[in-house]
Symmetry: C2
Subunit: 359 residues, 2 copies
């Protein structure tokens, strides 16, 4: 039996308690200051209100002030906060981690420097921990197509555990693997995490196709708008490949679970798709945002970071002005509040200049 302490008790962090407890491990969910009611609910009724499910018997819940107790004797630590909480989580871990612990991160996103250099979130998380301690724990992440509720109700789910140490990844994946929760490992840490962040951006665009039907009063039409979504999916996949070249991921990483697989599942619904749909219906991003008060939009935030870095990288001569046209347009829409106006002719190397293999 392994003890797994989870900082953050959002729906994904909690969903991961299911395969762990199916395997007989001890799971301790620690709420952040934002999770107080979730922890109360689990303590009092055994139910996670966001997940709308009873949490496994083997999982216990702790308020933030009980974190030290919850970390006592832990072998594995999950950072279960979302992308907005990563630096905060790193600070907490600085006082909670012990040498020899294994950290698994689940937040998806990126950070950019002033010059537009992009960093994956597990590096940001680890960077908050003092160097001496940082080097005495392992840092890995969970990625790939998994919807929290589906994991919790034991639908078949295939994920990727990514990090730099293949041995650690094999050990971690063994804790989680069940007949329904299937785990592959990848030492392409950068590639997997870049895909995970970028897919949130592109999935926001997946909402446009339905929104455009709303705008045209065609939402009940027998003729849908899937061709539109498919073209974006294709261009997004192409841009995944370019991100691997730019940031040093392996060329094959986008073309499996971490890239297209995760983009597929993320495009099927959720809050990012919803705000995309509102934009497609004719609203500016700022107007759509106002209609979803209090809702966390990680895709929009990732567009601001990643899309916002691209002009800086262009200015520095690192990428061309014609690279990443879809991500740039997403940034124009989300970051600069411009109207949606898909620049089709710039996709796939340029419509009028298309060459062999570029389509």
């Amino acid at each position: 039996m392994t003890t797994v302490s989870v900082l953050g008790s959002g729906i994904m962090a909690t969903a991961l308690a299911f395969p762990l407890s199916d395997n007989g491990h001890d799971v301790r969910l620690i709420g952040t200051h934002l999770d107080r009611e979730i922890i109360d609910s689990i303590k009092e009724r055994g139910v996670h209100p966001g997940l709308d499910l009873e949490v496994p018997q083997a999982a216990s819940a702790f308020q933030l002030e009980e974190a030290e107790e919850a970390f006592d004797g832990a072998d594995v630590v999950m950072s279960g906060v979302n992308s907005f909480g990563v630096r905060w989580a790193g600070e907490q871990l600085s006082s909670l981690l012990e040498p020899g612990m294994h950290v698994l991160s689940i937040a998806k996103g990126m950070e950019a420097t002033e010059g537009g250099d992009l960093r994956i979130l597990p590096e940001v998380l680890a960077g908050e921990v003092p160097e001496g301690l940082r080097e005495q724990v392992s840092w890995s992440a969970i990625a790939g197509p998994s919807i929290a509720g589906e994991v919790a109700v034991r639908r078949d789910t295939c994920v990727v555990f990514a990090g730099r140490d293949a041995g650690v990844l094999e050990e971690m994946s063994g804790l989680f693997r069940t007949p329904n929760y299937h785990v592959w490992t990848s030492t392409d840490f950068v590639g997997v995490e870049v895909c995970a962040a970028a897919k949130n951006c592109y999935a926001l665009g997946a909402g446009f196709m339905e929104g455009i039907l709303d705008r045209e009063n065609e939402s009940e039409s027998q003729y849908r708008n899937y061709d539109y979504g498919a073209a974006l999916f294709g261009q997004a996949t192409r841009e995944f490949g370019r991100f691997m070249e730019l940031l040093g991921g392996e060329s094959e990483t986008p073309y499996g679970l971490a890239g297209v697989g995760d983009m597929f599942v993320t495009s099927m619904g959720g809050r990012n798709v919803k705000v995309g749909r509102l934009i497609g219906s004719g609203l500016r991003f700022s107007e759509a945002r106002e209609r979803m008060p209090g809702v966390t939009l990680e895709g929009a935030a990732a567009i601001e970071v990643i899309g916002g870095a691209l002009p800086k990288l262009t200015e520095r001569g690192i990428i061309g002005a014609e690279d990443f046209p879809l991500m740039r347009h997403l940034h124009a829409v989300v970051g600069a509040d411009e109207p949606l106006n898909m620049p089709w002719h710039t996709f796939f190397g340029g419509e009028e200049d298309s060459k062999a293999g570029k389509g």
Copy 2:
């Protein structure tokens, strides 16, 4: 003004008359012996019954016995039949084509020799035409994510025209390009056509995820089964890449419109997804097939051809026994009528053997 004669008046062939007539071209739809009622309907009411739309004024309709008249003076010829009619269409073209004409094929599928060597359908089509004539016409194809009805009602659609002659492709694409119908070109004829055939196979598998919910009486559940579909999408994309290596397509071709884009749109619905859903619900393929009498299932047919070729290629030492595990399971289910039992652990290079970048 260019004259485009179309052999076959199914929904996709007819849908392509819309961008052509928007550009002022003369389109002549010629029904096959199976299309008699469609042609009657267009002649009498101007409506294509399958498409459920009025065909453009510029399009005229001809019965098969009027084909010679319809081909008189044609610059471009579309072979608009489906994969089952390709050899028949080639025979017809043998007597209808004139030197200098440009042929565009829209059927998607493959043929296999006894030994398992796979051929793309435009080659099969051209192969039916006597060599002397064959070399005096050009052979190209239309691929990429496009649903016929969406093209007809002028939803934004991005496609790939593929062939060996870049100049011809540029000329052909210029006839079709409109503000909504966006055309890229690719001289990776094999790669584009292999993707187009393979995506029909994998899209049948996309139906499993909903079917499994039906089987579990979970079809109304808030927890869907998208993780399942996403994992298949990822593995299918990986297999696209392997098909390029096997059959000589360019490595980038699957990762844009022709591969993942077209697989996305084909996974959104249609008859192949429907039969996949029935299989997911617990039926054998033979039982599911019986519930869809008279329905053409190009995906199932492509699985029989492509999936059926793989053991032969393995026996000849051309591919490994562990290659294409998803296509092999689709063939077990569709070709050998075995029960659905997804071999997750064989995907992405093997779950327990996963190495860097394989996920």
